[in-house]
């Protein structure tokens, strides 16, 4: 599998996993954790914009 295809696959998995982790982050009530996970989600989203350029 080409490196770029593998990276794209990881972006997909990352988007789904981080979104699911946000469910538990919300349950903890920790604003710092929620901000960190949302920031990570944003970074993955921007990585997708770069990867599919």
């Amino acid at each position: 599998m080409k490196r770029e295809t593998a990276l794209r696959g990881w972006v997909l998995i990352g988007l789904l996993v981080v979104s699911l982790v946000l469910y538990w982050a919300a349950d903890t009530g920790s604003t710092a954790l929620q901000a960190a996970m949302l920031g990570l989600l944003g970074l993955i989203a921007l990585a997708a914009v770069w990867l599919w350029r």
Partner: protein, 523 residues
């Protein structure tokens, strides 16, 4: 809570339109694919929900978790549908299906009616969410249609049947959320969808070959419209909602088959050689799709089987939440229940596996065909999947923060007494945002009901317009467009298809709106 009791004002609508505007601009004007435009629109939606719409991090976090659940459900269908298609393609004889169906409908325009309008509606009756497009668009390409035409015509053609399709899930949602269930709403909805049936058939043929093509199939279009919409109306009127679209699609296939008896051509011509395609050839290649129809019907109508497959369920509860502008999301015990063995995606997977066994037994697929089909599925689905996850996340961020509501209520404020005219457009907006007629009805059903009551117009025609708009809007839902494009090798080129979907969707919704305005004026 009355859905109109919030601090959301008309100017919020302009801000709320920004993520959608960005998405459309990037895809339609800049030619970006969904996997690139979707994530950027997601980021903008989250930022606006936090800065303008008064959400907190917890609400946004939960909205994205909801998005992940919905995405997993949608992706399971898409990946399994693609696997099924690639498996049939591995036989190397997929064009036999198109050629055989072509026997029933000589001529391109008539084939568009049969495949993109009637056959997709039949499939929508039993399995929704992109399955009709994912199944039929590649068949049309195999039959000589251009990939873009195949996707556009199937998207337009099937959409009228969405409300009562998938066992009437969208209609049930509308009745449940508004409390207006019963014969009156069912009949009004079926009448409005009957008009949509005609418009979708005509739209599909226009998208294929223009007015000349439409004129050439005017008679079968009208006859089949009467047959399909009349059947749906009859089933809806007697309360058999869940069977209404399936029955309509079945009657449509019968009518088209009878029509074709008088105009039959040699299918070998369609294959471009002297190959003779008999019923046996069709049946053996079509086996996997026949298994799918059988599996879905069995699970849908045999209670013990359905209960057995639904025993394992994944449910995540979400508490109530609200924004500082007063938009409230109700608590739910399970936002999107996942049933790993009973969901539509699983049924498609069963059909693929059983189909593979059948193909091996009759010797039309080489050993390892399943593995090769799976490999092709993975390589073709990753890009579409990223686009879908991002757009579902954007939709949930907008819905849970009240942005989608702001858009609809802003539209309502602007038009005033002409509200019935834009009523279907609100349904279209909901389906575009959420990718689903059902979710559109859940999102906007109460808004439509309350606005109609405030304006003193008849409620059931407005609700009928809402669900018809939701059905029509599903033709331009990005997730569905991505599914269609990925099955015909147009991945990353969704923009032009979206543009065509918007053009036809808005024209059809406009006609439905004018009809609603006239209808509410006389009732």
């Amino acid at each position: 809570m009355n859905v109109l009791d919030t601090d959301i004002e008309a100017w919020h609508a302009l801000v709320a339109a920004a993520p959608i505007g960005l998405l459309l601009w990037l895809m339609v004007r800049q030619g970006w694919g969904a996997a690139r435009a979707g994530p950027l629109a997601l980021v903008l939606a989250v930022v606006l929900s936090l800065t303008v719409f008064g959400t907190d991090l917890e609400l946004v976090a939960r909205s994205q978790a909801k998005g992940a659940l919905l995405s997993i459900w949608v992706l399971s269908i898409i990946w399994a549908a693609l696997l099924l298609f690639h498996l049939v393609d591995e036989t190397g004889e997929i064009q036999v299906i198109g050629a055989w169906l072509g026997r029933l409908a000589p001529g391109g325009a008539l084939q568009v009616l049969l495949l993109a309008w009637v056959f997709t509606s039949f499939l929508q009756g039993i399995a929704g969410y992109g399955v009709p497009v994912a199944v039929v668009a590649p068949l049309m390409v195999g039959n000589g249609f251009a990939p873009a035409v195949a996707v556009i015509t199937t998207l337009i053609g099937h959409s009228w049947s969405v409300t009562f399709g998938s066992l009437a899930a969208s209609y049930s949602a509308l009745a449940g959320v508004t409390g207006f269930g019963g014969d009156r709403l069912a009949i009004d909805s079926a009448l409005m969808l009957g008009l949509a049936c005609l418009l979708c058939g005509a739209g599909a043929v226009l998208a294929f070959g223009g007015r000349k093509a439409l004129a050439s199939v005017a008679a079968p279009l009208l006859v089949t419209t009467v047959a399909m919409s009349g059947t749906q109306l009859g089933f809806a009127a007697v309360g058999a909602y869940s069977l209404a679209a399936f029955a309509a699609g079945t009657v449509g296939l019968i009518v088209m088959a009878l029509w074709g008896r008088f105009l039959r051509c040699d299918p070998a011509d369609l294959l471009g050689d002297s190959t003779t395609v008999g019923a046996g050839d069709f049946i053996r290649v079509f086996a996997a799709y026949a298994v799918l129809i059988g599996v879905v019907l069995t699970v849908s109508f045999v209670g013990p089987v359905e209960r057995l497959l639904d025993r394992v369920r994944i449910e995540l509860a979400f508490p109530a939440s609200s924004t500082s502008l007063g938009w409230a999301n109700e608590a739910t015990d399970s936002y999107r229940t996942l049933s790993p063995f009973g969901d539509t995606g699983s049924l498609l997977l069963y059909a693929a596996l059983i189909g593979y066994v059948i193909y091996r037994l009759i010797g039309i697929i080489e050993p390892g065909g399943l593995g090769r089909a799976a490999q092709r599925t993975v390589s073709s689905a990753v890009s579409s999947s990223v686009g879908i996850v991002a757009m579902v996340g954007m939709a949930l961020a907008m819905t849970d923060s009240g942005m989608t509501f702001a858009l609809a209520s802003g539209l309502t404020t602007v038009v005033g007494a002409a509200f019935p005219m834009v009523s279907p457009l609100i349904g279209v907006l909901g389906a575009f945002m959420t990718g689903s007629n059902t979710n559109s009805n859940i999102l906007f059903g109460a808004l439509q009901r309350d606005t109609a009551q405030l304006l003193g117009v008849s409620v059931t025609p407005i609700l009928a317009a809402q669900t018809t708009g939701g059905a029509i809007g599903s033709m331009l839902a990005p997730a569905k467009i991505i599914v269609g494009c990925s099955t015909v090798g147009l991945g990353g080129q969704e923009g032009p298809v979206l543009k065509a979907g918007i053009r036809y969707g808005l024209v059809i919704a406009g006609i439905i709106g004018a009809t609603t305005l006239a209808w509410t004026a006389v009732t």
